[in-house]
């Protein structure tokens, strides 16, 4: 199981990386943390002519607060998010989610940008960004653009990133002290792809939930934002919202896989949501 031959470019700046993309596209693959790409190369499931290794671009790493946003460079390793006081303070949901991603050696290398650009439907970070109303920062030949996470993810492994663009950063609105965050997932083993999971973010005022956002993972081709269920729960907060949860299935689009049927995923999504909300009561 050895990877096929390819060429590799190791740009040192974002502009150089963009130039490489422009020059070699479409048969390129951007090598970020490589924790998914390298495995598929070893298995010869993908065969790009040119790898663009962006690990040498210092400008792509780092966590900072820019006005009311927490800005995370695309190449920031998951382990840095796990231990960052800035993330813990301003994006506590991210801190909650990271320990559920794979294992320590993977998080030491895996990056936030890689996970988001890859858009695996079972990944935690895409759903997390959708729940948090994160903005994905893309840079291309025509400059920088920002796109809301929920629009960035467009389907099974499909995103709004085009083949001459680079995902450079993620911006997350700084958490307010009135906000609440929750995360639940159910995997058969620690660190595995979850059978279903939910990221939740909500504002909170006089014992009422406001603007609840529920973003689910592995119950659709990408992260799924369940808007009707979320608003139904807000309306019924403090009362019985079982009926609202019953409708959750119609917002999700799971398929069968080896670990759970689509019915089971919907069932688990409901259970996880209820348990998450019970924590808030």
């Amino acid at each position: 199981m050895k990877s096929p031959a390819f060429g590799c470019v190791q740009p040192k700046t974002i502009n150089d990386a963009l130039e490489c993309l422009q020059r070699h596209r479409p048969d390129t693959a951007v090598l970020a943390g490589g924790q998914s790409l390298m495995a598929s190369l070893n298995m010869r499931l993908s065969n790009p002519a040119i790898l663009i290794d962006i690990n040498g671009i210092d400008d792509l790493s780092g966590i900072s607060v820019v006005e009311d946003q927490l800005r995370i460079g695309a190449m920031t390793r998951q382990v840095e998010l796990e231990h960052s006081p800035l993330v813990a303070q301003h994006a506590p949901l991210v801190s909650k989610v990271i320990p559920h991603i794979a294992h320590p050696a993977i998080r030491n290398r895996g990056t936030i940008g890689g996970s988001i650009a890859f858009a695996d439907p079972a990944a935690e970070l895409p759903a997390c960004m959708v729940a948090l109303q994160g903005q994905i920062v893309l840079q291309g030949p025509d400059g920088e653009r920002r796109i809301a996470a929920e629009e960035f993810f467009q389907g099974l492994f499909e995103t709004a990133l085009s083949d001459n663009e680079l995902l450079t950063a993620i911006e997350i609105p700084i958490a307010k002290h009135t906000q609440r965050f929750g995360f639940r997932e159910l995997a058969r083993r620690h660190g595995d792809y979850a059978m279903a999971g939910v990221c939740a973010a909500s504002d909170w005022s006089s014992n009422n939930l406001i603007d609840l956002r529920l973003a689910y993972l592995n119950v659709g081709p990408g992260p799924v934002l369940a808007e009707q269920t979320a608003s139904g729960i807000c309306r019924n907060w403090g009362q019985n919202y079982d009926a609202v949860l019953e409708g959750l299935g119609s917002e999700l689009d799971p398929t069968d896989d080896l670990n759970a049927t689509s019915d089971m995923r919907i069932h688990l999504a409901k259970v996880l949501t209820r348990r998450l909300l019970e924590e808030w009561q």
Partner: protein, 794 residues
Amino acid sequence: MTTHSRDRWVLDRPNSYIGRSVPRPNAKRLLEGRGNFVDDIVLPRMLHVVFVRSPYAHAQILSIDTTAAQTYRGVIAVVTGAQLAERHKPWVGVLKHLQGIVSPPQYAIAVEKACWQGEAVVAILAKTRAEGEDAAEAVKIQWQELPIVADAQTALDPDTPVIHDSLENNLCWERNFAAGDVDQAFETAAVVVEETFDIGRHTGVTVEPRSIVADYQPGENKLTVYQSTQAPHMMQNVFAKHLGLDEGDVRVVTKDVGGSFGIKVHVYADEFATVALSRMFQRPIKFIADRLESFVTDIHARDHLVKARMAVSKGGTIQALDFDDLTGIGPYSMYPRTSGIEANQIVNLTGGAYQIENYRATTKVVFQNKNVMCQYRAVGHPVACMIAEGLIDEAARQLRMDPVEIRRLNLYPDDGYPCKSVTGMAFENLSHHQSLDKLLDMMDYDSLRQEQADLQKRGVYRGIGLATFIEVTNPSPMFYGVGGAAISAQDGCTLRLDAKGNVFCATGVTEQGQGTETIIAQIVATSVGVAMEKVRVITGDTEVTPYGGGTWASRGCGIAGEAAGQAGRVLRDNILDVASVILQTEVDALDIQNGNVVDSVDGNVLTTLDEVARVAYYRPDTFPEDFQSELVVTRHYVPRDYPFAFTNGIQASYLEVDIETGLIRLLKHWCVEDCGTVINPQLVDEQIRGGIVQGLGAALFEHCIYDTEGQLQNGTMADYLVPMAAELPDIDCAHVVSMTGSSELGAKGAGEAGTAGAPAAVMNALNDALTPFNARVTAVPLTPQKVLEALGIL
């Protein structure tokens, strides 16, 4: 032949290492990354072989075009099955004592058609593995798909196509056994419980994949094979036989083995191809199965569907047991052990802990277009255990008896040995009741039941599951030899005292991490009378070690250990003969302790072993003319008075099931087992723990999932789930000691006990937890999906 305790000479030795948890001397280099695994071997002119494998479960090879592949950089040759078939004799995986078993001839590389997804069809020899894989993509094969036999349940239907033209149907073997009046017993029984047990296919997943380097030297017509295997002498025989070489010209060397569990005791077509290719091209060739290859070519195991019923009296006495077993073994019976042994074991062993008079069992072993299936750790035992333990628990539930009480009532009494089970298994001395009592004590059974009841009131569902088991260990030739296989049941040990008082020990068994070398050294050190550091153990080299069977079926300690003990006793005698000449003393007045020759009465040191050796080797001229020192001895051992040394034990699982998600959390696991004399308690416990965890894997996670077209669906490490650290409980072990009288040492095996009982214990614990819901799951792995389905949620 039975040895009485007064003859247990080794056990009574001064400064004994028997029963001591001595750390393994050979573990240190492994801890420093200085192991010597096959993939670490690099030989001059060595090539790598890459196999192009069939993507189809069953397909005719219409044509193979290798012209493009041959032009690739680094490629030396591309060889098809037809080309290689001219260079070796095919094999047939049958044994005489499995009456009626059939299997077609199998070649190293598929010749006319591929019979499972993953079967090798073309071999590429290249300078690097990567270059070989590049060329593999350029091999063009024209396939014609053939009808696929995937489902074992329909494999024998008249309208199912027959896989092999040379056979009448897809039946490999069947066995029917009956004793007593089963029908009468069921008619009159107060309670009849019935279950279908579905035991999923799983596999071993050794972290070191199957690995081999073959080095044929034309000058001497000599073949040296470095192989990660459990049975070097068996492999030597097979390579010689099927390549037409003299067995004396074949040497198999086995250094460190990165896990085996029964996976590495079989003859794999691709490994044999590697050896045949080395002979064909007259240079060293390496094959290391990559992980994707492992999942579709390492033997799979289990895959049994069992319909079973048990008749029980009102008082809880088992009156009859009756079951039909069906297993699918892939397209070939594996060579040379066959793929019928697991089914045979299930017929032999089911319910073997209990006094059952009326018993009927049938098993059918069928061919199908899936990866080959064969013996893996605890062959047949976990299935046998699930049948009996699952049924007895269900009977207890219906009779409102405690699972402990119903077992107590039916287990063979501890004072009733020797005796024979209904299937003719001879039990020398087992300890079911003592083991059960010890287990209940260790787990504090009554408190646990109380805790379970208290928690249930708060909506927390926990379950306790018990599983009694017996284990086949120390097999005599009744296992394989009697069926005509060149698999040695005996094992030998050669000891040599060197000139500095060190003892070199060569044994026919191999080390795969169990601690074989350590326990052999402990036994030798004890029986000779030297410190363990003075004993050097050599394993895994057919040119150096005595002929032996290798390490499988929990035989290393009981058989090779006994040979080592006996050899040590003789070497000690021979050393004392020399010492008595030097010291001018009667032999009876001497003993060896701590490397010194001592006065056997007061223990005073009279001389040292290196002094004895010095005189023997450098100054034999000082001996009387009629005296010759003999400081190399060899002894062999094979159990004779029992076909197998049965062991017994019992396990318990405590778990919690989340009734909303179906997720099972293992809280604790216990095992009491009786392997006779315990040489090294720590090593035995770790064998038990490791075995249990493979059983827990079978219980909860491990499953080779195939689709209806014979395609493996989860052939990666990410998708084939094995239990990891975070999913596992702590495991407590304890022992009862009932020594076998067949040997001085009295040791039986322990390597498979854990795997035998764990799945049944977990299944019973789950069903105990689900009792309030009147729900049951009897198909392993016990997945959350199955739990929710049983609960009626899905």
